[in-house]
Each structure stands twice: as structure tokens, then as C-alpha cells.
């Protein structure tokens, strides 16, 4: 029972970066404790084309579940299939701490009466237990848990383990669904990418976020321009701004929104309410631009500019564009 399972999340026929992160994490454990990495790849016919990338990141075996019933997320059929597979004996299983990853692993955990460590940032395997770190209390406290039962079920916070290539055989095996995958109660009828095909907040190395200091919705253009100048940036917002309908709720960073930790976070016209800080305080470098020098955001920031964001942003955008293009 030393093998490690990695669930590799796909969407609309594409492999998500999170799907490589789980394989990389599983590989790291298998290299330390012995055993093989089995990656699960589920989707509509054609999904098997991604098996080679999973092999390149360390999968000894790629378990391919190809069926039209898995074109969209099929939680009940996946739960039955994974619970049956995991019952055959694994040391641990890694999932992404994504909306779908959480949904799936929690179902599997309850089905198998197993402990589930969610949103894990660190993990240590010892002979008879797995110890994990999981942030809580709006990321103000690190909670360390011990999982004794096997398999240990873990979902990984995006970016906690970055994809690393470490090629293994990646032998493709067919994974048959447990039961009829169309005889399910919960049906996803549509999956659609958000408009614009933008980089997701959880995956972007740079996030430019805007708050009320932008004064009106139209000024978010300045935030988008700066994101475009970086080229690898996503746009986020405070709850005040999403509540006012300037941006969709899915852009909200904070206690009740997305929890992000990019390499660079630029807070534009954001005062730094505790509710917002909860969602971004673990970013590696934080820049704040705000006209109120007493704003709490400056206490969280590495670098601050006191000034009107509407004046500073265009100049910063131009400077970043020059720095990026070397012009």
C-alpha cells in the first residue's frame, strides 16, 4: 500500500495546471517512501492525449477514464469510481483544492469514512501518519493536522507544489467507471470559460487588484491595462467593488472570495480591510497604491506609493511595459 494516487483535473478537454501539481506532489512522496504514482485522467474521448504530460511529471501509471459521460464534471460517477479504486489500497491521494477538487474529494472521504485534509500548503509523510498544514481563520492561523488512516486524502492549495518534470513510464491503463456513469442525480449541464479567456486568479503569477479608490467601474480599465503590461497578470477586486457590480463576484479576493498568493500583488486604491487582507496576505511581494497614507494596506505591503491611483497607474503601466519589452 505504498502507491500514491493523483487526480489530474481537466476542463473542457484541457488538462489544468493543478492536474500537474497533484502529480508532482505524488511523485515527491513516492520518491521518498517508495511506491508508484498513479494519475487519474478523466474526460470525454480524446482526453488520453494528455497522458504523456502526466508521465513527464512523474506518473508511473496513467489511469484513463474516457467516456462522454465525463465531458462535464460528473461528481457522482467519479466518486463511485475513485472510491472503488482507492479501496484497492493506496497510501494517499492528492486532489487540487479547486472548486471541483474540493467537491470530489469530500464526497470520496465521506463515502470511505476517511479523514480529508483540505487546502493543504505543506505535507510530511512518516511511517504511520501524514502531517499537513492547512491555513485557517482567514489565513491568520496555521492549523497542523495528523491523518492516521490510509489512504490519506489531501487537496493541495494552488501553487503549494509547482509542477516539476520528472519523467516516468506513464503506462496507460483504462479505468472503467464503477456503475453506469449516466445513472446519476447531480448533472452538470454546461461548463463554460469566463468571458475573455483571462488567466485565472489562482494560477496567475501576478495579480492587479482594484478597490473603491478607482472611483468608478470604468476606471478598472487602468487596472486591466497594467495587467496587460505584465502579460502574465490576472485582475482581482475587493468585495466592495464586486458588491457594487463593477466586477463579477468571481473576481473577489478576500475572506469570502478567492484566497490567492501570487509572486506579485498590486493593490490599487484598496484600503486594506481585514476581509481583503485575508485573501492576499500570503502573496510573496505586495505593492500598494493608495492616496491615504494611513490606509492599513500599507502595513501589509512591501512597497507603497502614496498617491492617487488614477494618476499613478498610467505611469506605472508605461514603466512596466518598457521593463517587460526592454524598450
Amino acid at each position: 500500500m505504498t502507491n500514491i494516487l493523483a487526480f489530474s483535473e481537466t476542463r473542457l478537454g484541457e488538462l489544468r495546471r493543478a492536474g500537474l501539481e497533484t502529480v508532482t506532489a505524488a511523485r515527491r512522496v513516492a520518491d521518498a517512501t517508495g511506491g508508484q504514482v498513479h494519475a487519474v485522467l478523466a474526460g470525454a474521448p480524446g482526453i488520453a492525449q494528455h497522458a504523456a504530460r502526466l508521465a513527464a511529471h512523474g506518473a508511473d501509471v496513467v489511469l484513463v477514464l474516457e467516456d462522454d459521460a465525463f465531458a462535464n464534471y460528473n461528481p457522482e460517477a467519479l466518486t463511485a469510481t475513485l472510491a472503488a479504486r482507492l479501496g484497492g489500497g493506496y497510501r494517499a491521494a492528492f486532489f487540487a483544492a479547486s472548486a471541483l477538487g474540493h467537491d470530489l474529494v469530500a464526497r470520496v472521504a465521506a463515502r470511505m469514512k476517511l479523514a480529508y485534509a483540505s487546502d493543504v500548503t505543506e505535507f510530511v509523510f512518516s511511517a504511520d501518519a501524514v502531517t499537513v498544514a492547512h491555513p485557517g481563520y482567514t489565513n491568520k492561523i496555521v492549523q497542523r493536522f495528523v491523518l492516521k488512516a490510509t489512504p490519506a486524502l489531501i487537496s493541495l492549495r494552488a501553487g503549494a507544489v509547482l509542477p516539476v518534470e520528472n519523467a516516468k513510464a506513464g503506462t496507460v491503463e483504462t479505468l472503467a467507471p464503477a456503475g453506469d456513469p449516466t445513472a446519476v442525480r447531480v448533472k452538470v449541464t454546461l461548463t463554460e470559460k469566463a468571458a475573455g479567456g483571462k488567466i485565472d486568479l489562482g494560477e496567475a503569477p501576478v495579480i492587479i487588484a482594484g478597490g473603491r479608490g478607482l472611483k468608478e467601474a470604468a476606471n478598472f480599465k487602468l487596472v486591466e491595462d497594467l495587467a496587460a503590461a505584465f502579460g502574465n497578470a490576472a485582475v482581482g477586486a475587493t468585495r466592495a467593488v464586486t458588491d457594487d457590480g463593477w466586477r463579477p463576484h468571481s473576481d473577489q479576493i478576500g475572506q469570502t472570495g478567492r484566497l490567492v498568493s501570487p509572486d506579485l500583488y498590486v493593490a490599487c486604491g484598496i484600503s486594506g480591510a481585514i476581509q481583503h487582507l485575508a485573501g492576499m496576505r500570503t502573496s510573496k511581494t505586495i505593492v500598494a497604491i493608495n492616496k491615504d497614507k494611513e490606509a492599513p494596506i500599507f502595513k501589509a505591503a512591501d512597497y507603497g506609493i502614496v498617491g492617487d491611483v488614477l494618476e499613478v497607474l498610467p505611469v506605472l503601466t508605461e514603466a512596466v511595459r518598457k521593463a517587460r519589452t526592454g524598450a
Binding site: 479547486s98 472548486a99 474540493h102 467537491d103 469530500a106 464526497r107 465521506a110 476517511l114 479523514a115 480529508y116 485534509a117 483540505s118 487546502d119 502531517t131 492547512h134 491555513p135 485557517g136 481563520y137 482567514t138 491568520k140 492561523i141 496555521v142 492549523q143 497542523r144 493536522f145 495528523v146 442525480r185 447531480v186 448533472k187 452538470v188 454546461l190 469566463a194 483571462k198 486568479l201 489562482g202 494560477e203 458588491d243 463576484h249 468571481s250 469570502t256 506579485l264 496576505r281 500570503t282 505593492v287 500598494a288 500599507f298 502595513k299 501589509a300 505591503a301 512597497y303 507603497g304 506609493i305 502614496v306 498617491g307 494618476e311 499613478v312 505611469v315 514603466a319 512596466v320 517587460r324
Partner: protein, 250 residues
């Protein structure tokens, strides 16, 4: 329509936390407590459904020591009809054990729809509602941002990272509530008065086995103090230099 809402009492996140001497809890001294944000949304959604139908009953349920009665009364003052406290004095960090107790209370209640918050903002486990559904053998749609219940069918939308999906399932069902559907209302004075007369039952909690053990809590490393680079747009060149040479992110 019979609805149930599971709510958790959590500390106000505004404060600074200290770790208690036990090392496995927070020091509660001086903290204020309230309903977890997402649970408040769930209560609001359930109350709105009964208001729209002009019929139905919302039961709110919370597991914990007697102080959770205060949180249950708040939900009653928002418009829920009755409350159940599953009395358990020690803190529990295992969502599966909590879900087992909730399932034991809810399984024979004849509920059409059970609502939970997407996650408790203290433990951030995001799993209790899904565990509960699985233990009850009910379909569940988690982390939804839109909800429509009609003709015995739940239709919902879930935000994904950079995408969304539309999902359906039959009633009875469990849903967990994300941002986007509703904000918890502030109780009116009339609601607060009415809540005092609404039924609040206290029952023992029948927790499941603890399989997820909290070993210790720690405060994360403090960030080094930042600095103000300058004022206005003239500070941009220095900021860009620091991002390039010091932070190496540009």
C-alpha cells in the same frame, strides 16, 4: 417546503488571534462571535425561499456549547422558524464527526432542501455540507453562486477558477452556498422580538469518530515591515527599480 440550514458560530475575523495555552485552540478572551459568513448567506437564501412561497419552514441547526444559542437566535430573528442546538461542549475540528451528528438529527426530518455555507471561515475545511449529503445519501451541489428551486428540481451555478458550470439535481438535496446569491439581512427589531418566542430545542450531539486530529495551531511568520517608496507618480521609477532588482518580480 421544509428547509434546514446548518450554521456555525465563529470568532469575528477582524481581531488579532492568540494561540491558547493548549496549543490547539485560539485564546477566546476578548473575541466577538457571530454566524460564519457563508452560513449567514445560506440562512438568508432559505428564508427568502419561504418568503417567496408564502409557505414552508426553516429550521436552523448548530452544534456546540450553549453559547451557540445566541447564533441560533440571530437566525431566528432573521426569519427562521425553529432552531435546534446539538449540544457539545468541547471544540471539534473534524468535519466528518460534525457531519455525522448533523446527519443523525436531519435524517428523519423530511427536509426538502438542506443548506450550508460553502465553508466555515474559521477552520476553512469546506467539507461539512458535502460530508452531510453523502452521509444522508442525498445529492449535493457545492459552492453555488445562483440557485433556483422549482418543480422538485434544484438548478444552480458554480463558479470555477476562470469558468463556471450549470448544475441540476432532484429534491431532496443539499446545497452549499458561495458568494453571489444573498447577503444575510440585519435582523429587524420586530424580528428580534419575535425570535424570543420561537422554539429552540437542545439535544445531545451524537458525534462520529474523530479521524482528523488537530495537532497544533501556529501563527504564520510575520511579514517584514514594508516601506513607502514615495508619493504620486514620481515614485514610479523607484518602485519599478525595486520590483526588478530587490523583489525580482519584473
Amino acid at each position: 417546503m421544509k428547509l434546514a440550514v446548518c450554521i456555525k458560530r465563529v470568532p469575528d475575523m477582524e481581531g488579532r488571534f492568540k494561540i491558547a495555552a493548549s496549543g490547539t485552540g485560539i485564546d477566546e478572551a476578548g473575541l466577538k462571535y457571530d454566524m460564519s459568513d457563508f452560513d449567514g448567506y445560506a440562512a438568508e437564501v432559505a428564508i427568502q425561499i419561504t418568503e417567496k412561497l408564502g409557505a414552508g419552514e426553516v429550521t436552523v441547526i448548530s452544534l456546540g456549547p450553549d453559547v451557540v444559542q445566541e447564533t441560533l437566535r440571530k437566525a431566528l430573528s432573521m426569519g427562521a422558524h425553529r432552531a435546534v442546538q446539538l449540544k457539545h461542549d468541547a471544540p471539534v475540528s473534524d468535519g466528518l464527526a460534525v457531519a455525522t451528528a448533523l446527519a443523525a438529527e436531519l435524517k428523519d426530518g423530511g427536509y426538502d432542501l438542506i443548506l450550508c455555507g460553502r465553508m466555515a471561515v474559521d477552520t476553512q475545511n469546506r467539507s461539512t455540507g458535502i460530508f452531510l449529503a453523502e452521509l444522508l445519501g442525498l445529492p449535493v451541489i457545492s459552492a453555488i453562486s445562483q440557485l433556483n428551486v422549482e418543480g422538485g428540481v434544484v438548478k444552480a451555478r458554480r463558479e470555477l477558477e476562470g469558468a463556471y458550470e450549470l448544475i441540476e439535481c432532484p429534491l431532496p438535496a443539499v446545497v452549499t452556498i458561495d458568494e453571489g446569491i444573498a447577503r444575510a439581512r440585519y435582523p429587524s427589531l420586530k424580528g428580534i422580538m419575535a425570535a424570543k418566542k420561537k422554539p429552540l430545542e437542545v439535544k445531545p450531539a451524537h458525534l462520529g469518530a474523530i479521524t482528523y486530529q488537530l495537532e497544533k495551531m501556529e501563527l504564520p511568520a510575520e511579514r517584514a515591515a514594508g516601506r513607502i517608496v514615495g508619493e504620486g507618480k514620481d515614485a514610479v521609477p523607484e518602485l519599478v527599480r525595486l520590483l526588478k532588482e530587490e523583489a525580482k518580480v519584473l
